[in-house]
Every structure is written in C-alpha cells, then in structure tokens.
Assembly symmetry: C2
Homo-oligomer: 113 residues x 2
Amino acid sequence: MPQQPVISIRIEFGDHLRIGPGKIRLLELIAQTGSISAAARQMDMSYRRAWLLIDELKSILNSPAVETNAGGAGGGGAKLTGVALALIAHYRALETATQSQGESLLKLIGNAE
Amino acid sequence: MPQQPVISIRIEFGDHLRIGPGKIRLLELIAQTGSISAAARQMDMSYRRAWLLIDELKSILNSPAVETNAGGAGGGGAKLTGVALALIAHYRALETATQSQGESLLKLIGNAE
C-alpha cells in the first residue's frame, strides 16, 4: 500500500514552461537561507540548475523573482521580490484548498484515513 | 508572453508513484477508442509504455483500471472498470475547481484575462 497521498499542482504555460512544487520549494529555500547556492544545495541541485529555474521564473512572471547583491564580507546575498513572495503565498493556499477538496478522490483511491 | 496558463494536478504516493494528467488522458482515450494500442498511438506512446502505466494504476488503486478480452474477429477490446471511470470523474472535477480557484494566482502571474 503506498503511503498517504499528496496532491500537488502545476501551472503550465506550454512550451515546457511551468511553475510547480520544485520552483516554489527553491524560492522558499532562498527566502530561508538568503542564498541561491545554499538553497540549491538543500535540493541536491547544481547552482547552474537553480539559476536556470530562476531565469525561467523571470520569463514567466515578466519580472525578477530573486534579487542578488554582490558585495560585502561573506559574499552576496539573495532575496525574493514581492511578486515571488506573493506567488508562494497564492500557490501554497491553492495547494492546501485542492488537497482538502480532493478528499473524495483520495477516498476513492482508498488511501485516505 | 506565454500562452494562457492551465493548472494541472497530480496525486503523489511517494516512490515515484503518481496519478497525473498523462494517466488520466490515457484512460480517457481507452474509454473512447476501446483499445489500448489505439489510445497509446494517439499519445505517441508505445504499447509497452501504456501497459506499464496501466499496471502502475492497478497497484495504486489495488484494483484493475482496465479490462481486456482476447477474442473475436478484429482482436480484443479494452474497457475501463468502474473505479477507473470514477477516478476520471473525480480527477477532472477537482482539476476544474482548482483552475477556477486559481484565478488570483493566474492574475498575479499576469496571464489571466
């Protein structure tokens, strides 16, 4: 018997552009750590791959998701823009609503409860 | 500017077991065509790959999703079981609800309307 199922959502724009759990998690980790490389490491992802995802988000949003600054002792930091913070909040809220509305689907599959 | 976004849902069971748009589409095409090979062909998928997905669904549902019969002129046919029909109905209803509740998310991304 598989473990307790989880419903996840993806927003698909065609041409292989999408926002799903991976990009959202990456943004959350950047917010937590203040660092793209630390966030990438926690996801077992290369820095280059993280940058590609951030760049893809920028083209989807028509606006940057992450701001970086170069300077200071200890190297530069990274933080999320307002639109990225709003994206996370909306995405997680929708995910939670979908999960709770999916109860009948999960019961059908026989794994709920 | 990407095209009009679409929200899709996936039910994840861990261990790489999931039910998402691909398996649901495959089931719908089997229902329409009465044939696994015709459904696979419409999805540009090998017959073997279609069978693997159907087998994965069986292990998730603890019950077959597709019934086949061997005989008759013109070869055997395939049809969906009750649980597979119910799965499609619940899945599409949840997807529609999520899409309409995702309006604020889609507006944020700037592609809605």
